[in-house]
Amino acid sequence: MLLKRKKQWKMGVALSSLFLQAAILVFPFASIAQTLPTAADTAPDLIRPNDIGAVGNSALSNLQGPRVNIQFDKQYVREGEKITAKALPAGFFTEEKELYFTWYLKRKDASDDENEWKVEAARIIAQGNFDKADANYGNSSGDGDGYKAEPSWGDTSSDYCYVQDFKSGKFFELTSVKDSFGCPSGSEARCVSTRTVSCVDSTVDPPVMEQKSACQENDKPACKTTDVDNFYAAPQCPSGTEARCVPLDKVVSFGSTDEQICSSLGSSGGNICSDVGTALTECSFIKKDNQCEHLFAKLPDGFGEKTGDGQFTSREEEYWGTDPQGRSTAGNGQVDEANVVGLGISEFAWTYQEGDQVGVVIEGESMIPTSHNSAKKMITWAFSQNKCSAIEEASKKFYIEQIYNSRAGILTLNDKDDQLKAFDVNECLEENLIDPGISGIGNLNVTLSYSPEYPINDPVNSAELSRGDEVSVQAAVEGAEDAQRLLYKWSVEVSTDGSANPDTWKDITSQVLTADTEGVGLDKLSFMLSIPKDLFPKKENALQYIRVRVLVSEVGNSSSERSGRGEAVIKISQLDKEAVAYGIDVAADGKLSFGQRICNTTQEDRFVCTVAPYEIIGVKLDDSEGEVSNVSWTVDGNKMQCSAEMSSECGASSDGKALIFPVVGRTGEVMEVLAKGVNSSTGEVIEVARYFVITDPAVRIFSADTNTAWPRLAGFYKNPDGSSSPDYSDEFYETSPGYAVKLRPAFYPSWMEKYSTYSWKMDGQQVGSNNMAELAFEVDKPTGSSIYIQLESSYTDGAGEYMQRVRKALLGYWGISLAETFNVPQTTQIQLSVLTDPKTITPENYEGVWGANLITHLPENTLFLVRIMLSAIVLIIVSGVVFALLPVA
């Protein structure tokens, strides 16, 4: 029994140690092992300092802080010219008018003192056109033009300010910190080294020299951040020493002589540093003071006043050169001190001198909340060139703060030589200076080209059925580092005085452009010219000018983002009159009358109206304002007119604005109908054209609501200008389950509908009554299926009475003898394919989706379950077989 137990124990120990050895062997690979889940993994964790380091900062470093872009009103500037720099800030939570714009202007002979540059700019801003020489500062008693800037920063202020390292993307707080080594009570952090001294042992006779060791303190270690991401810092000591927490009475002082050391060691045998205290491998920092400061231009030392303190004394007025009698010397509605601090001053205009360089630093609340226990947002700065290498070189530290029920690490930026001082943001100013002479920023050369050269605007119709041209504007950018990283912002403006060079342009982007106007790589803008008349300030003008502008800027990690602006002024003709097409009814007495309006159902129809040979068509000039007179008509260049004998709607009653003409030509030919008249209000001649394409008589089915049933994209055809246009099928349509489809017939010639009987069939079954003008139904078929819609029509003109009238009219009015009869259409059909989701399956990707491999679309988790179950089964089977092969215990 005892032997058996012993054997068990041995076996157990052997297996356990084997497993432990395996664990130790495999341990280096543990990092690739899967994490064993615990209950704590079921939801987001409570934050810990290390988590904050890894998660908090990586998240913050992905956030883009405020930026600014500087635009000059001139690309080239000469000495003595007035130039205006406009700051375009982005990413601030604070409204632009509440931001502090600290402009600075470095003249050619200026010193390196940033404050001197700021003062130069602040004086220009605050003075406006005021001449300081006219002022008497002596007897001013204050005119209430002080402004108190917020926040009022102090050591304990809870308004924290930050700078973003443009390279790493991390935000650093401007707070001073002090080292913390966390040494146990009674000991202090020191850099120590073991020193060997020779001491005389005089207790023996004769005295002998003996070697003794002593742990000698050196300096205090410096705490240096070793891992910014995870808030790790380590003590740093001079070479040859090590950091330890040591009781000071156990070490000898730095600078002690051998004799002093021997004396302090006395009869003891000495010590070595590794035996004294504890090794120090980590350290941290403790928050000290909030060191935020506004970057406003400062008054000279000893002045006794501060910029933005709410007091603007006459001495300050004199220093800044403002009017001591006026509250707003610059005349911009803001008090003088507000102008000095740059409140909302987004534009800075000055007279350029050779060598001038300008910059701006903008202070305000960003969109990013602080890590502190408050809802406040980070106050930060944007620099005119969005770069600051001084931040990279500054000392990076951190401190840990209790946030609610956990702790968070907060990175700080400190002076590289004195950590008790926060980083001085003024160090960023010099490298953000811009030379407007060479236009260091905005030096992308952007040119725009557009087509067609003389586009036509249709102010009457909606864009969907517009007769206006589609204008395409293409941007070409020179000087870009990477054309793929260009952000384009498009806008469309209209001339306010109808000229090509107005004083101002009116922005109509939102009214004209429905697609995206902003995007990376969006180098082409296309839009329909269907600008309503009311949007033109000079709407009576037949010719108008629009200006298409694009702002191109480089995006990405580049610290020196450049930008450029391009514009194209486009002259457009106003197509403000339309020649509206109608079907013509022929009465029994041969008189013609205007019937239903035709060619107003699709956009293609608005451009080119489809008609059948020998069809009689009516056209009326749509002139509801009665502006046009003396209208004359030509068809394919041949003069034509419509007399009162022909129709009561022609002749004098229509003032020449109506025309009836026969369609003569071969299938495929295009007829041009042109109306010319005089605009009585402007006296200008206007021309209105309408085009008709001749096709064989036919009946077609079209969708009355293309949102629920749309023609399938058959492909694209190339236009002569190289662009592509979509080609939609006439016979294949697409829809989706549950959609309410509405289909209608279209007859060519249109009058044929009146003399036709037609019926609808859905999948071979007749639906509805005869001559149902619209087939409406809800799609109840599953995806992947098709619905076949047929329209069967028969010509019901009896003995051909109406056809006879048409023949007579053609012969009587235009001398056209029509021998043959119309080829009357019989049946037409469309196929409606039912798709899964029109949002994801579009005509473009339809084929690809159905051709996809089924496995590809199986959910990953299902595959995982299959994989793991198979593994488990194999594991059980193999282990079962092995077990069966083992000898029975």
């Binding site: 157990g12 409570l46 934050i47 594991l875 083992l886």
Partner: protein, 215 residues
């Protein structure tokens, strides 16, 4: 053919080898996301041991301590194990970062309802999984008769498994600390239910304590 004693012993210890294999396979079976991790643990720590135990070893539920057992022993040793584990954890918190590093989902601390849901749902589930695998399957596989040594063997196995899979995390400390006396409770009472409830109660108490001191 005569079979040596060592080879016979090998078959007796084979379940433990299989348990170690399961730990290894689970550790290196590729998963992505919490859902797959949970499934992986379910398969390798619950389903596979069950199948192995019943299909290969032809064992019974009783062999896996699925029985009522001794109520008196169970309650006594459960109480002792909770007190002992709590004291050990307090000692740990004195000298380590345990109180800071131990995680409770933020969502579970927002209201009493969510806390209760967390304890009854997630904590119960994971406690059951790990108690079943280490406190039942591995415990039944360790063929040592001495209760204390047997339980110690399970604790060593558990520690080795965590080390092997790189899971020496603070969240596992309560499980690891409890496993020793929890195993004793199971062996003394003959039932898994007492150590399961005691382990769950320990985690609930610990979580409650954590929430109180953190808020």
């Amino acid at each position: 053919m005569p079979v040596s004693g060592n080879k016979k012993e090998l078959q007796r210890w084979y379940p433990l080898v299989f348990a170690a294999l399961l730990v290894l396979v689970q550790a290196f079976f590729p998963t992505e996301g919490f859902f797959q991790s949970v499934i992986s643990v379910m398969v390798f720590y619950v389903i596979c041991p069950f199948l192995f135990f019943f299909l290969v070893l032809k064992g019974s539920f009783q062999d896996l301590f699925f029985k009522k057992g001794s109520l008196r022993e169970g309650l006594l040793w459960s109480f002792i194990s909770i007190v002992f584990s709590f004291l050990v954890l307090i000692a740990f918190s004195q000298y380590t970062d345990f109180l800071v590093q131990y995680r409770i989902p933020l969502a579970a601390t927002e209201s009493f309802g969510s806390f209760l849901g967390y304890e009854l749902g997630s904590v119960s589930f994971f406690t059951a999984v790990y108690i079943f695998f280490f406190g039942a399957f591995v415990l039944s596989s360790v063929k040592i008769e001495n209760v204390w040594k047997r339980s110690l063997g399970v604790t060593v196995f558990f520690a080795a498994a965590l080390l092997l899979t790189g899971n020496l995390r603070w969240e596992f400390l309560p499980y690891l600390v409890f496993s020793y006396l929890g195993g004793v409770a199971t062996l003394k009472s003959g039932s898994l239910i007492y150590s399961l409830l005691a382990q769950w109660l320990l985690i609930v108490l610990l979580d409650t304590f954590m929430v109180i001191i953190r808020t």
